[in-house]
């Protein structure tokens, strides 16, 4: 059974195996398919039209399934690998071990945002930006520039305490847990982390930065924590909602999985704590 661990607790060997598996997916071309899929959904999910991956109740189950696909791809390379998560409310500075050269590498240089160290630095030759929205072919970051602070634990708590999963109009204007976690409303958790990292992470092709997976693995863990805290509250809406994925409706692009199938993560993996 897959156990997803806090990235801060990984051994040197676990970090190396994770990085090597990610690089292997990149070499084979499979990695870029994930980037492409994400960008297609982010461009087409709209507040007034069909919305599946973002700005909608299915933001959480969609990314859960997306991460499962990626984790399975990693495990096809190295069966010992699981997705780690980044608790950005505790590891919240550029000095966190997450950004060390033996793991994801650090922030970009000031002139052009280019990441200069770590296994994903352009100079190492293993991390070309193939799916991109502009001419630049190197991984970029600007940690803590566009927004100063990552969310605090108190801010996370304030969102976890919301007892309603989601609310009409089921988009970026909604109140409730999902939209406050996604960040279009309120203290802003998930969106703010994308902005804090900067570079490709702030764009539609955000999975170009491997930290995408660690960020979303933690967002996914927060959903699980919310469920534990509110056992009587469930996914909504539960039927008949135009443009929105109801509980028992299948989700694109898989078309064979429903939010209802993804509510219980323990069918697929557990967390270290």
């Amino acid at each position: 059974m897959t156990v997803r661990k806090n990235q801060a607790a990984l051994t040197t060997d676990e970090k190396k195996r994770f990085v090597d598996a990610v690089l292997a997916l990149k070499r084979s071309g499979r990695y870029d398919d994930f980037v492409r899929t994400h960008n297609e959904f982010i461009m087409s999910d709209t507040d007034t039209g069909e919305r599946t991956g973002h700005r909608s109740p299915s933001f959480l189950p969609w990314h859960r399934r997306f991460l499962l696909d990626f984790e399975q791809a990693l495990q096809s390379v190295d069966s010992s690998v699981a997705l780690p998560y980044w608790d950005w409310s505790s590891d919240r500075t550029v000095r966190a071990s997450l950004w060390a050269p033996d793991f994801l590498g650090g922030t970009g240089r000031s002139t052009d945002g280019r990441v200069m160290d770590g296994p994903f630095a352009a100079a190492a030759g293993n991390w070309p930006m193939n799916v991109r929205v502009d001419g630049r072919t190197f991984l970029r970051r600007s940690l803590g520039t566009a927004v100063r602070e990552l969310p605090t634990r108190a801010e996370v708590e304030s969102v976890l305490s919301m007892s309603t999963y989601d609310m009409a109009p089921y988009n970026s204007a909604s109140d409730g847990f999902r939209n406050n976690l996604e960040g279009w409303r309120g203290v802003n958790l998930h969106n703010r982390v994308h902005v804090w990292v900067g570079g490709q992470m702030a764009t539609g092709v955000s999975p170009n930065d491997p930290v995408f997976w660690l960020h979303h693995a933690y967002v996914d863990k927060l959903w699980a924590e919310w469920q534990r805290r509110h056992p009587d509250a469930g996914y909504v809406p539960t039927g008949g909602t135009p443009d929105v994925v109801d509980l028992d409706e299948t989700m694109k692009p898989w078309d064979d999985v429903r939010p209802a199938d993804l509510l219980d993560h323990t069918k697929f993996y557990t967390f270290d704590s």
Binding site: M43, V133, D134, G135, N171, S172, A173, W184, A202
Partner: protein, 126 residues
């Protein structure tokens, strides 16, 4: 927003349609759920910002597939920037997707800042 100020915003938008200049009204938009009051068209603009030409204008009739800006498009040095309007009237673009700003012009400027001189690639028309 109280009805009275919305009506004022719509009046301003009507004036805009004639003069194609004046204050931005996008941020005063009606709620997304309220389809009976479509959000006003943002102001047209054409300027050089940090050495790059940014333009914003109502879309021509010609069958653009990606039309998430409520019929408004933004170009950077002639290349279309994928733009999206949020339910609260704020805007995001493909190069700044998690950080809403008040107007399409602000989104275009944010994109120029983010690009640091790099060319924007035309998005795939899939």
């Amino acid at each position: 927003m109280p009805d009275i100020s919305r009506r004022r915003a719509l009046t301003a938008a009507a004036a805009l349609a004639v003069t194609a200049t004046a204050v931005g009204v996008a941020a005063t938009a009606a709620s997304a759920a309220d389809h009976t009051h479509p959000m006003p068209m943002p102001e047209t603009f054409d300027e050089v910002y940090k050495g790059r030409r940014i333009q914003g204008r109502p879309m021509g009739g010609g069958g653009h597939h990606h039309e998430h800006g409520g019929g408004f498009e933004v170009l950077i040095d002639g290349v279309q920037l994928h733009l999206m309007r949020n339910a609260d009237g704020t805007w995001i673009s493909i190069v700044s997707h998690y950080d809403p700003v008040a107007t399409p012009r602000a989104a275009a400027r944010a994109a120029v800042d983010e690009l640091q001189g790099a060319p924007l690639l035309p998005f795939p028309a899939n």
